[in-house]
């Protein structure tokens, strides 16, 4: 029981963070058709904000508040300075955001050095869940992730902004002729997607080593989650994140991390081959 319960909890924790990253990617891709290769770096900067917050003495809560604000602002600068000039040019956006990801990584290396940093855990307690004990902080991260995912769904499904954003995804030109300022909705969504990556990075920072390369470890499975789950539906992100993140995390208990990555890639290839629209997307029509 304990042998399987703890790896399952670890996998769930990993999946939830991955879903947060993939949701940001999905919002940006779904709305603007922009494949944001720098999304992993936004996640990484969120983690660095948490590290710095501890050093600045504003503590864990300060870091958690500051990370989405700083990364969201960075998202606003990126959208205004780069993305808004190359809308509807998918290849250019990939190249531009890839270049941006390299620049952001190097900026972090120059500022903080290439070595890994760490953020202390805000509390180091374990709580009993049935027959096993689990770190309280990891449980809190899982709870916060679930809350953020639910908030995302609520905003997109229930609010005026969500309805307008879904309209822009479905028919941008029609939305514009109805009077919606689609550029503003795109910008807001980009900032929201960036802020989501920032808070995900800040949440996970105390449990992993924070280094300039950490973004890639979440960007690739994040994109894979979108493809496996199905691009276009928010629920696809959850299914894709669970399939990619869950299987990857669970497999590392029995095989090496490299082998588990290979298995996950093969599984993703098979799924995408059989259901090109993804697990959720494939079901439509």
């Amino acid at each position: 029981m304990i042998e399987i319960a703890i790896p399952l909890m670890d996998a769930l924790s990993h999946v939830l963070i991955l879903i947060l990253v993939a949701l940001g990617l999905m919002i940006i891709f779904g709305l603007m058709g922009v494949i944001n290769m720098a999304h992993g770096e936004l996640f990484m900067i969120g983690a660095y904000v948490m590290v710095m917050a501890q050093q600045w003495g504003i503590g864990y809560v300060g870091g958690l508040i500051l990370a989405p604000i700083i990364v969201g602002f960075l998202g606003w600068v990126i959208e205004r300075g780069l993305i808004c000039h190359i809308y509807h040019r998918p290849i250019d956006t990939i190249l531009a955001t890839w270049g941006l990801s390299i620049a952001l990584k190097q900026a972090v290396v120059l500022t903080f050095g290439p070595e890994a940093q760490s953020a202390p855990l805000p509390f180091d307690m374990r709580v009993g869940i049935g027959v096993f004990e689990y770190p309280l902080y990891r449980l809190m991260v899982m709870g916060a992730s679930i809350l953020l995912i639910c908030m995302c769904f609520w905003v997109f499904k229930k609010t005026d902004f969500g309805l307008a954003a879904r309209a822009v995804i479905a028919r941008p030109q029609t939305s514009e002729i109805l009077g919606l300022n689609t550029a503003k909705i795109n910008r807001t969504s980009f900032v929201a997607g960036a802020a989501l990556a920032g808070i995900a990075g800040a949440l996970i920072a105390p449990t992993i080593s924070v280094d300039p390369q950490m973004g890639l470890g979440y960007l690739v499975p994040g994109f894979l989650s979108l493809l496996v789950g199905g691009v276009g539906a928010l629920s696809g992100v959850i299914v894709g994140g669970a399939a990619v993140g869950g299987s990857g995390s669970l497999l590392t208990n029995w095989i090496s991390p490299v082998a588990s990555q290979i298995v996950v890639f093969l599984m993703a290839l098979v799924i995408i081959r059989m259901r090109p629209n993804g697990l959720i997307g494939g079901r439509k029509k």
Partner: protein, 233 residues
Amino acid sequence: MLEISNLTAGYGQSMILQDCSLSIKTGRVSALVGRNGMGKTTLLKSIMGLITPASGNITLNGADITGAKPHIIAGQRIGYVPQGREIFDDFTVYENLRLAAIAAKVDLKARLADIYHWFPILKQRADQKAGSFSGGQQQILAIARAMIAQPEILLLDEPSEGIQPSIVQDIAKTLKKISDESDMTILLVEQNVDMILDLAEDIYFIENGQIQAETAASKLTTDPALLHQFLGI
């Protein structure tokens, strides 16, 4: 008043409208008539800012709106029902109307009374997915969606296209009722002669990107020569 002066516009290097001028009279129903490819849709798209004109001007009540962004033009209370309807298939009828109210920044509840008065079917089917509607019902929804913003001018691009004749008659009757009950200006692009004669007061004939003739609809019933000349019927 909507005034189009010496407008040249098109797609890429190909100019469809050539020095086109037209004044749409306030509070009246005008029809723009012509064969395919003569520039009817291009004119409506230019008015809505979906196409940036190469030259010429479009003014609304004296204010120049040439080349403005579509959402700014929509904000000037110009409603547009595009060809093909373009309703949001995955949204319910109510969500389609709610979206229009959000976009136009108007109180949906206040507008729904009028909308449901004109289009009772939308009240009955408010929770139905718009994608499950027939072509005619989708057209009604597209018109209702444009009406949410209480437009001063309503542009309709071939509302009868692909719709069964009985529904076309219903749509024409409803538009007539709306036009009688409000002081809204309607510019109708259409090839369906019955709908034109049912609805329009002023008729403009377009050919090769220019307005070639205009007449009162009442004259057309007694002298159909212009219809023969510009529509080939």
